[in-house]
Symmetry: C2
Subunit: 377 residues, 2 copies
Amino acid sequence: MKRILLLGATGSIGLQTVDVIEQHPDLFTLVGVCAGTQTEVIKDIVKKHPSIEVVGMATPIEVDNFAGEVFIGDTCMVDCIQNVEYDILVNAVVGFRGLKPTLASLEKGIDVALANKESLVAGGMLVRETLQRTGTKLYPIDSEHSAIFQCLQGNARGDIKRLIITASGGSFRDKTRDELGNVTVEQTLNHPNWSMGKRITVDSATMVNKGFEVIEAHFLFDLGYDQIDVVLHKESVVHSMVEYNDNAVIAQMGSADMRLPIQYALCYPDRPVLKEDRPYDMTKTHDLHFKEMDFDRYPMCRLAYEVGRKEGNLGAVFNGADEQAVQLFLEEKISFLQIEESIQKAIENATYISNPTLEELEESDLKARAFVKSLWY
Amino acid sequence: MKRILLLGATGSIGLQTVDVIEQHPDLFTLVGVCAGTQTEVIKDIVKKHPSIEVVGMATPIEVDNFAGEVFIGDTCMVDCIQNVEYDILVNAVVGFRGLKPTLASLEKGIDVALANKESLVAGGMLVRETLQRTGTKLYPIDSEHSAIFQCLQGNARGDIKRLIITASGGSFRDKTRDELGNVTVEQTLNHPNWSMGKRITVDSATMVNKGFEVIEAHFLFDLGYDQIDVVLHKESVVHSMVEYNDNAVIAQMGSADMRLPIQYALCYPDRPVLKEDRPYDMTKTHDLHFKEMDFDRYPMCRLAYEVGRKEGNLGAVFNGADEQAVQLFLEEKISFLQIEESIQKAIENATYISNPTLEELEESDLKARAFVKSLWY
């Protein structure tokens, strides 16, 4: 029986994690949940899971008939980590704030099932150092990295030629750059394949998300950027691939159901039955297309390679600028293309730190956000 | 350094095995070769490989400056097996005659890299019993079974939902059954994707070959026929797949190069560099299509499931009838559709033996051949 602490419980990945846990009462116990402001959702989860011992919320919450501990405010995630015994942390937090709890769990010596991209995009170097020092492990919760992780099983690292991350192309994949000038928030949030949170849907359209995934792959699988490629694949059926030195390409295919990577991260290397209404059937879906990545169409993906190669605090700047710019876009204060412009300028403007501490990363993050705001006000 | 004994050295798989061995002089030594009648080809191989200690030929051969032993005639393969020390047998013989050497090597306690389908189609029960008793292993050399073997790595048997064997559809995949009445040998041998031996190319067009692969998969991976499916996939890029209980589908993709499965069987689980002129590039090839298997269009594939489920000597009858019928077709003595008719009638006519000995299988094979001849003369 695996005891699970879940951060970001009320988001898309969080709720699907709860579903996976509920599908396997013989395998999992939910011992703690953290979230931001959705108190009613958390109360429902706590009611259904008497096994929960700790609750963390950014905003105040009162949970009826709850004998466990409740932590409120900015430090609630780390408080939960430190005050409950668990076997694996599911970090489904969105944004830079997910880095600190990742590090806290690894420091406690406990593995992390990671959906929080920013832990690696912004804090990859710190996380890598902590993993090595503590002997802990990360299990990817992301359709692409889970696919790669699955395709790596039973193969030697030295036999890898390259990782091939597939990219759907996002909401505007059929538009040229010239046509992106006046796209709306509503259009941007209408992703053709995946139902996800708002920020990641915008990040898919700009391919900032795919760029993040390249950086994540670098840290998760300890491979150089020359061994990580992106290929356009509009069906999102092949979730990613690994090509080996003998030219074999191993691919993982499936429907757009995040519960598969969640369950694989929690059950690895086992694959118990996952109830799904419409599992992937290759004879009943579209033909599969693959196209070379177009870095001119998606400059944020090219930028991610540059940022990744330079390391230091640039990932934190990249992410901080994006978080702020996407928020401004969702508030309809800047246009779609101004997201890219914000990020590009924030990186040009940043002061480079080669081996940043957590505090320096936090500072870089805040500065990038402030810089982006200053661009438009 | 792995010492390799190669049977069927002058055929398509045999020559590609020699190529793989020559690509890796640090990994492999060729210690013996057997073939049928192509003495000049064998002489060339022996000249290039001074490591060869035994040569077997169906027809007489004189090898200049060869200090090793030469075995001639029907028993030459088993003679070679018994008279040289080797680490793995590559059985690339075509036809029922490949069964005996497979059994002989396993009895000697030595693993077999198996391209000879008939060892399992006709003799699966005997081979299975011998594997279990001797603790030896089979490594598949077949693009489909190698793909499945690769996709199974790192996963538990109990987590398998089903194997999905892909089928190109063969030379006449765009024809209806009504259009098959007067197809020629030349048209039949023009396979759209693979360059292979004559018999297997004909067997692809009738899908006898795919039916054989279903039976092989049953024995290689110890799964029931309900867990083995065939899917039409005309590009032959996805070589086969495994679907797991969590709905993940793991696929192996690559170009139509048999050296990959050969090398994987010899190097398993390693994947050293394989030099290939045109390795598969998903962005530069056709879109991928998948269609449900059509058993009415390909009745031989349906028949294979029935034969496989009934076990006994029916696989030997199926194969013997097919070997004979294909030969008659290649000699232009019967039509394409009469291959199917021959097989169907041979199975209806056969006397069922539930637990056949090798001798009984040999007898069933001979009887099936004689029966097919008697049908048309």
